[in-house]
Symmetry: C2
Subunit: 158 residues, 2 copies
């Protein structure tokens, strides 16, 4: 990547909230949270994190890049699985500490467990939620993760 993306310094609240200058705030680990939705269905697919390099690569290439916290490396989503996320729109929030990507993906499936969305389970609200029992909202996997990911280590940490 020869080209860079300019990040402005954060000087005033008015600049950050009401201005036209990209001045992202990274946390103490150098990361910014990113929610990714399907541009076609609107469904929330995943919640990931980006470091400065991942955000810049996402902006310049139009393909979603994240920082993998479990593998501690830059992560071009889809490089292994083929499920590359093409960015239709990239938004940033009021205080510029969160990103929203609207993406197109083959099959609208993105979860490493094999479901469309990483959020395939729900928790009931009210008294019914007290037992801590999850309900499955996707009835079947969208793909076979073993075929897509092979022997790649599972990113989930206990």
């Amino acid at each position: 990547m020869t080209q860079d993306v300019h990040f402005f310094s954060r000087l005033t609240i008015e600049q950050v909230e009401e201005g036209h200058e990209l001045a992202p705030k990274f946390d103490e680990h150098g990361l910014i949270a990113c929610v990714t939705t399907s541009a076609s269905t609107g469904e929330v697919l995943m919640l990931g994190y980006m470091n400065a390099e991942a955000l810049k690569k996402t902006i310049l290439t139009g393909e979603a890049h994240y920082w993998s916290r479990s593998r501690q490396m830059l992560w071009h989503k889809g490089a292994t699985s083929g499920l590359v996320q093409k960015v239709k729109e990239l938004r940033i929030d009021d205080d510029q500490d969160a990103i929203w990507l609207r993406v197109d993906i083959p099959g609208d499936a993105s979860c490493h467990v094999g479901y469309r969305s990483c959020f395939y389970r729900s928790i009931p609200t009210g008294d019914e939620g007290a037992a801590g029992e999850l309900h499955f909202e996707e009835q079947a996997k969208a793909f076979d993760p073993k075929k897509i990911y092979g022997d790649a280590p599972n990113p989930t940490k206990l």
Copy 2:
């Protein structure tokens, strides 16, 4: 709150990813990320954080509660503004370290700056994005934040 919500211990990856047991993972600050979308429009409204108490209150009351990192206190969203978020659906992700709320809010507006969504600005992708210039995607504020929030301190931190 006399009632409690049961959180299971995280024992195996299969339990966490494929099971029916709510076993949320909180980070080193005791927080879990939460993306909140409008149940009617599908728009991403905000990205917030919950501690264990906020998650339990959200489950039991069906109204969104967060942990305010800027004010370091439990935050019943809408207690000041009246823009309470009624939870239509509460989901959790594969490794149980992120929450997705689909909510109903009066006017579908939730941002403290006065816009519908906190994500009211976009960043163009490709060469055009290199300058770090933001584009406004909402043309006008949905409400006057001074009228709704009065003299409450601005939560944005530089």
